[in-house]
Symmetry: C2
Subunit: 358 residues, 2 copies
């Protein structure tokens, strides 16, 4: 049972505007060092899974750029969805390609745009989860131990143990909770047997397809039609129609919340979903004034800033707790606690038809 | 007694960093419309004084750019100081050129980097001041009626009337006060017979030289030596040494505060010395959110900003009372009330040897 990786790279977040754009979504951003989040995601696992066994699922309009960022991958490993249909469809598509190649394939599902600094610990967790999959044929999820009562993440309630030789901590997943209200989140953190659902999964490709057949029969049928059409000379327009018709649902809502074959491996390496500009503070150390700088900054009485400005000198006097992002044609300034409202700017641009900035 | 104008354009303020630089001082900045402050200064007076009678005194390293900005001026009218020696020297140099040309010349002295919207009212005031000069041969100053107890301007105490046919309001200047402390400024404003010294003067060139001879004999002698050297084949190095040796003193301190032949004409047009980025709010109307924008801005819950960004879209969320200035290689962000501290950044750049930004 060989390990494969499936990187989900079709996202198009608006919270990293103005750096992320319709044609340059978050996974392509270089927020640390010289590699993009997508490139880091690949490099993080290559000691465990070689590029030849790494798949990427992306959107058609991002296909060329994805190939360009990952020259080490065989081009055939980069799959394009004609249209985004959420994670269940993307994972189903990838699983179909894998079982066609290797009926016993174990797939590691990874978001393309998260940050995990400790690659070694991460790969060890993946190996352990794969071990649990080999023994129990469950859908394994990785659960990050919560460090604060986050209301922006899903939680997994840890159930009975899943005893596995050489692996400690694997359990059944008792229940999934979508982003909870603050008091519930606080209760979860205090209880100790809840972990964050970080969207990283390990399972046999054929098992996840089997569970889709049970819980998402329409998706399963639709994917079959699309897959068969892709293998024949059927016209592209008709194939696209098959994909367009797929139900748009997350793997969490569509499968994991219903299946009784779900496990969870609690992990304790540092993880960030890099959800907004503010998350830059989680990616690297701040300077002595508490400023997190990617690029050039000159500050006088300036503290707790997040500055992203690879090219231009950002000079600040007497400002605090701001996010400052400079790009070639647009500049963003907002307080850290308003970082979610960057989406409002994107909406305004849409309303005004200023598509050159989208 | 023909009217001439002398524009003092040797300044190099640091408070407009990062737009103003060592080789691109404030007078060259375009803060309104399509003309620089210097160009506006010329255009404001051409209905009264044609370009052939407008002189500019600037610094040697700014000579070419000054000529380029003012192609309508005869090149010989742009005088360069080898080194800045404050306003008394610059005015003395200009006066010497004028008397050589026209012994009866009346010169209007204008800062190159102020803003006065009502050109017609301004020219009327200059004409009236010139009329007073013709009748009384005094050193006329224009005094702006104070609108608030400013501590950043000098004040002139209005004295006895200087009756002049066709001119109302001209008086002797009783006393000059440099930037007063707040309580004094408040008293001046309440008293009603104090005006701001806006650095705009009208006098006969020969009269101001005469007063320099009395109150600044060293300057007078030095200027004579420099002037004579300029007319002969004496080497440039030696000429520069003469200018270098001139006392560096303002015309206010050196002459106006001592002479008994000083008049003042109170004026009531709107005037701004454009002293810092914050002054942009005085140059044009703000939008409905109180934002003063030169360039491109997209705001969500953003009020009372000063934005200077001719090329790049500045997008703001939840910020207020900030100054945001974008230039090709540097970006400035500071609260309006800290605008004077922009100089601190310039000092920091000097300390760090980052001369590319100076």
């Amino acid at each position: 049972m060989t390990l494969y990786a499936t990187i989900l790279a079709g996202g198009s977040g608006t919270r990293f505007w103005p750096k992320s754009r319709l044609n340059f979504p978050k996974q392509f951003l270089t927020l640390q060092g010289t590699h993009s989040l997508l490139q880091h995601t690949v490099k993080r696992i290559t000691s465990l899974i070689p590029p030849a066994r790494i798949q990427v699922v992306t959107a058609e309009h991002l296909h060329a750029q994805t190939l360009a960022q990952l020259p080490e991958l065989p081009p055939v490993n980069v799959l394009s969805e004609p249209v985004g249909r959420n994670t269940a469809a993307a994972i189903g598509l990838a699983a179909k390609q894998l079982v066609a190649l290797d009926a016993e394939a174990v797939m590691v599902v990874l978001p393309a745009d998260h940050s995990i600094a400790d690659a070694q610990a991460f790969c060890t967790s993946l190996q352990q989860a794969a071990e649990v999959v080999r023994h129990h044929d469950v859908l394994m999820t990785l659960g990050v131990k919560p460090t604060y009562p986050a209301t922006g993440y899903g939680y997994i309630h840890i159930g009975e143990p899943l005893p596995t030789p050489g692996v400690s901590g694997a359990h059944h997943a008792r229940r999934f909770f979508e982003k909870p209200p603050a008091p519930t989140a606080a209760r979860f953190v205090t209880a100790g047997n809840y972990v964050w659902n970080c969207g990283i999964f390990v399972w046999r490709a054929c098992t996840v397809l089997q569970e889709m057949h049970t819980f998402l029969p329409d998706l399963w049928e639709g994917l079959n039609s699309y897959w068969m059409a892709s293998q024949t000379s059927i016209d592209q327009e008709r194939r696209h129609q098959y994909y367009l018709a797929l139900p748009s649902i997350s793997i969490d809502h569509g499968v994991l919340e219903h299946s009784s074959r779900v496990g969870v491996l609690p992990v304790d390496w540092a993880w960030s979903d890099v959800g907004s500009w503010r998350a830059l503070t989680e990616l690297g150390p701040a300077d002595t004034d508490g400023n997190t700088i990617v690029g050039k900054h000159l500050g006088h009485d300036s503290t707790n800033l997040v500055v992203y400005s690879p090219d231009k000198l950002v000079a600040t006097v007497g400002v605090h707790d701001l996010i400052i992002v400079d790009t070639e044609d647009a500049l963003l300034i907002c307080p850290k606690e308003r970082d979610q409202d960057v989406r409002e700017l994107v909406k305004l641009l849409q309303q005004r038809g200023q598509t050159e900035y989208l």
